[in-house]
């Protein structure tokens, strides 16, 4: 069953109702039944895999504690790992491994017929196998005691919100929660529902819309020039984030409504200033799994440098393989590993460079620079993640670095005139007027100025000016073309100029609005404290990049998408960015919660309406479910 299906829409409220009606003692039965139903509704036969995994790990963990002999413990671990990793290998990696062996043997002229099993990949197998193996190793290392209640243990392995795409939970966090008595808590339920709504928005509106472009471009990389390929790769980075973190939000939200606290899986990873930080913020539960169960047992960083770097590479290559049975994923993982190694190796040089150039004195600029470099390198490696084959990926990268290809991109020749541009020009003028008034009237009275105090009045003024200017500009532009007033101006330069103005305008408007927002709210100030300026700039930078991309995407025809859908993507991204910074992760409280109902509710309504109108309800599976 997918979260983005009608099936789930019926399933989840039913489970909730049953869960809170049934006495605490029997709730695990509801959860177990629901989880198995959830899993079996996709392909019932594969339940045996889940059962095998559950049973083997349950028995293995108990058997480990029953013996004191190390050899026996190791034998048990080995058997359990063979069963679980073996199943994962057969269903996921056998064809790949067999082909790889075949290719290798062919080099030394040995005939080998690769095994081709035509098996459908069981959804979530990588997730629950890792969760189960993690539990077993924790028991083996004595970090936790084995769970004796088979029912509860089975729920732990199959808990439906996180069964098919994580987060990969630790027994220490999740199992005790099944014993806790959860009463229905309205505020918690609202928080959970909001998280779910936000997850659906990210997946159905942003990720699935972007997927149209990405799939279109990457399905035939030979037909596209550098710019569309870059754009598609960048969009893929956003798509994959929104897809996966969307799933996680839904999972965490659903669990939260029932009273469970799942582990946070993403902490604004694209704002990481280094690769190390990125892996602490991206797919946190998987990264920490690799750290705790592979990297550290291998010796981690407490070994000689070559071994340390070797450990890093092993972990990242395995991480790549975990994401997919294809060489492209292995190279992707390898690249990330190399990034990290290079980052560690060059630490001293970089620190020296920062000192010499005095970048450390420009803290925010330095911060932005670090984030940008990290992000660009991450996105670059994603070419391998998304490309269908290594040759496709190389072709894409070749185009990136070939100026001939780049300059022939449509970007430089087509910027399409669009109605919304006119509206934005209107905003530009109004913003300039407002800014003018703002600068010249900024005195003590300003704080009590009705303009600043009453949002409605301010926006009525904005809208009136915008509408008036919209009509005037529409008329002016048509006059320019029909009467050829400025023959020296080509259409491109005119629209280019227009576009630059648009970006400047929106920045100004946002600056004013954000400034007013922050100054007006005492609660807001309390939360943001000294960080307020940084958040403001962060938001502005994000918005600026988004608008820039929006402008660059105006020649949308070659991206295989409609103009409306492009606009939806960018409006969603803008909403996303504002909510991203305002709503999440700023200490434990959400900023939006401090706003009055008449601000909060319209935002929620807008999200729901955009979701319903523009969500792609074609039951597109979550990208990560296939892992």
């Amino acid at each position: 069953m997918l979260f983005n299906s009608i099936h789930f829409l019926v399933f989840f409220p039913t489970v909730l109702l049953l869960y809170f009606i049934v006495p605490h003692k029997y709730r695990w039965i509801i959860l177990l039944g629901a989880s198995y139903y959830f899993y079996m509704s996709w392909k019932a036969e594969y339940v045996f895999l889940l059962l095998t995994s559950t049973l083997s790990i349950y028995l293995g963990a108990i058997a480990i504690t029953k013996t004191d002999k190390k050899i026996q413990k190791r034998t048990i671990i080995l058997i359990c790992l063979l069963i679980n990793i073996g199943l994962l290998f057969i269903f996921r990696y056998l064809n790949f491994a067999s082909n790889a062996i075949g290719d290798l043997l062919q080099i030394i002229s040995i005939e080998f017929n690769p095994i081709e099993l035509n098996l459908l990949l069981p959804i979530g197998i990588s997730f629950y196998t890792f969760q189960a193996v993690g539990y077993l190793l924790d028991v083996y290392w004595g970090k936790i005691k084995p769970e004796k209640h088979f029912g509860i243990f089975a729920v732990f392995i199959s808990f439906f919100p996180q069964l098919v795409a994580g987060p990969i939970e630790r027994a220490k966090n999740l199992i005790p929660q099944f014993f806790e008595k959860h009463k229905f808590d309205y505020n918690r339920a609202i928080e959970g529902a909001k998280l779910m709504l936000w997850g659906f928005f990210k997946k159905l509106v942003i990720a699935d819309s972007l997927a149209i472009i990405v799939d279109h471009v990457y399905s035939d990389v030979n037909s596209f020039t550098a710019f569309p390929l870059m754009l598609a790769t960048l969009f893929f980075a956003i798509q994959i984030y929104c897809d996966f973190s969307g799933y996680t939000d839904i999972a965490i939200g659903a669990a939260k409504i029932m009273g469970f606290q799942l582990t946070e899986n993403f902490k604004r990873p694209y704002f990481s200033r280094s690769f190390q930080a990125f892996w602490r913020r991206w797919h946190i539960t998987l990264s920490s799994w690799f750290r705790d169960y592979i990297y550290i047992p291998l010796g981690g960083s407490k070994t000689s440098k070559p071994f340390w770097y070797g450990n890093i590479m092993i972990v990242f290559l395995l991480g790549g393989l975990w994401h997919g049975a294809n060489w492209t994923f292995v190279i992707w993982g390898g690249l990330y590993g190399l990034y990290l190694v290079a980052f560690l190796q060059t630490r001293n040089i970089r620190e020296k460079f920062v000192r010499v150039t005095r970048l450390n004195r420009l803290q925010n600029f330095h911060h932005v620079l670090q984030v940008s470099i990290t992000f660009i390198m991450l996105v670059f490696a994603m070419v391998f993640f998304r490309a269908q084959s290594i040759s496709d990926a190389i072709h894409v990268i070749n185009k990136f670095f070939n100026s001939e290809y780049f300059l022939s991109s449509k970007l430089f020749f087509v910027i399409k005139p669009m109605t919304f541009q006119m509206v934005l020009i209107g905003i530009l003028i109004s913003a300039l007027i407002i800014q003018f008034a703002y600068v010249f009237t900024r005195d003590k009275q300003w704080k009590y100025n009705i303009f600043q105090k009453i949002t409605v009045i301010r926006w009525v003024i904005y809208s009136t000016i915008v509408l008036a200017i919209f009509f005037i500009f529409n008329y002016l532009l048509s006059s320019i073309y029909s009467r050829n007033i400025f023959p020296s101006f080509s259409k491109i330069s005119l629209y280019g100029l227009q576009f630059l103005f648009i970006i400047a305008t929106l920045l100004i408007i946002l600056l004013i609005e954000f400034d007013i927002l922050i100054n007006k709210s005492k609660n807001l100030q309390k939360i943001i404290q000294e960080k307020e300026l940084w958040y403001k700039w962060k938001l502005l930078i994000l918005v600026m990049i988004t608008l820039l991309l929006w402008g660059l995407t105006l020649s949308y025809e070659y991206l295989g998408i409609t103009q409306t859908r492009i606009n939806v993507i960018f409006i969603s991204l803008l909403i996303g960015e504002v909510i991203y910074l305002l709503e999440t992760n700023i200490k434990s409280k959400t900023l939006l919660s401090y706003r009055p109902i008449w601000i909060r509710w319209p935002i929620y309504y807008s999200i729901i309406i955009i979701l319903l109108l523009f969500g792609i309800f074609e039951k597109t599976p979550f990208y990560y479910i296939q892992f």
Binding site: S5, I6, H7, L9, V10, Y186, T562, T564, R565, N567, V568, W601, Y604, Y605, I608, I609, I610, L612, L613, F614, G615, I616, F617
Partner: protein, 333 residues
């Protein structure tokens, strides 16, 4: 605690009521700006506006839709729709009769592809435009038609038919790009009380070209597939029962096709046997008339849009002929 519960209840209820109102408004906007202009909807509206005048209703798929120009047939209405099968026809006729239409004649198609496999995917056709078919079908009908309908499928059907705006944001936005004049022009071109205008003409320069087209067409619809679906035949029977029960005269219509299409079809099935099966059933009913134009316009390529459908010119000639034949049979004055 009690105060909290009260607050929770009031707040949730208010939020949901406002949300519902917003969704209903959006639905209404979408219906009035977009769906109102959808072909089936316009067809319904035209039919119901002319309710008191209409005595003859033509049912069928795009073959009938393009062949019958009802401006040449007195007090008639072409209610055919693309890919329509007998399950759809049955429910359409049922609704008309329940809504008090005082019909005299119902015209049903018995073309070569009237019962072929694609049309047998009854449920899939219903899934297309659920908001439209929701008017014609009750839940018991759906249960009856789709034995394996799960609860979630029914919920999905309900949501899609009640809230058609879901997922249609692009369409809703793009609507504003058309002016009302553009929309009306488009509609006037497309509609002459249900008749679909096809202006193209089948090339008569090269007979091989037509033969190849016919072969491709037939291969596409008949190849290795059943051409006679029993479930649809059952709905055909039900439609005949319904017409007889309400005292309607039934005309079975074989629309004109090209010789190439006819010959190509013979390669796939025995056409005589096909019609024997149909007539064995229809012989059991009173007031049944058969009008056969299948081979009447063989070689008259100028009348055809493609191998199976007439163009505007052909539709004019054919509709006048049908009108004449109706008079000859004393079906109309």
């Amino acid at each position: 605690m009690r105060k909290n519960k009260k607050k929770m209840f009031t707040e949730s209820l208010t939020f949901l009521i406002i949300l519902l109102l917003l969704l209903l408004s959006l639905n209404s906007i979408y219906y009035n700006t977009n769906l109102r202009y959808y072909r089936p909807n316009v067809l319904d509206t035209q039919l119901y506006v002319n309710k008191d005048n209409i005595k003859i209703v033509f049912f069928g798929d795009c073959q009938t839709q393009t062949a019958i120009n009802t401006s040449y047939i007195y007090r008639s209405f072409n209610f055919a729709s693309p890919d329509e099968n007998y399950a759809l026809t049955y429910y359409k006729l049922l609704k008309l009769l329940n809504d008090g239409f005082d019909l005299d004649i119902v015209v049903l198609p018995i073309d070569l592809n009237a019962f072929y496999y694609k049309k047998a995917k009854v449920w899939e056709l219903f899934e297309y435009l659920p908001w439209y078919w929701g008017r014609y079908l009750s839940y018991s009908d759906i249960y009856h038609m789709k034995d394996d309908a799960s609860f979630t499928e029914l919920v999905s059907w309900e949501i899609e038919s009640r809230f058609p705006f879901i997922g249609q944001g692009e369409e809703l936005v793009e609507f504003w790009q058309y002016t009302s004049t553009e929309r009306n022009e488009k509609l006037n071109k497309d509609f002459v009380i249900g008749f679909l205008v096809l202006d193209g003409r089948l090339s008569s320069q090269d007979t091989n070209f037509v033969t190849n087209k016919a072969n491709d067409f037939v291969k596409n619809i008949f190849d290795e597939k059943s051409i006679f679906n029993e479930e649809l035949f059952l709905y055909f029977r039900k439609t005949l029962d319904l017409a007889e029960k309400h005292g309607l005269k039934t005309v079975l219509l074989k629309s004109p096709i090209t010789k190439e299409y006819f010959d190509a079809s013979k390669e796939y099935f025995d056409i005589d046997q096909y019609y024997d099966k149909i007539f064995n059933l229809t012989d059991q009913y009173n007031d049944i008339y058969v009008l056969d134009y299948q081979d009447k316009y063989f070689g008259e390529y100028f009348m055809f849009y493609d191998v199976a459908r007439l163009n505007t010119q052909g539709a004019k000639v054919f509709s006048e002929q049908v009108n004449e034949d109706f008079k000859k049979l004393y079906l109309t004055d």
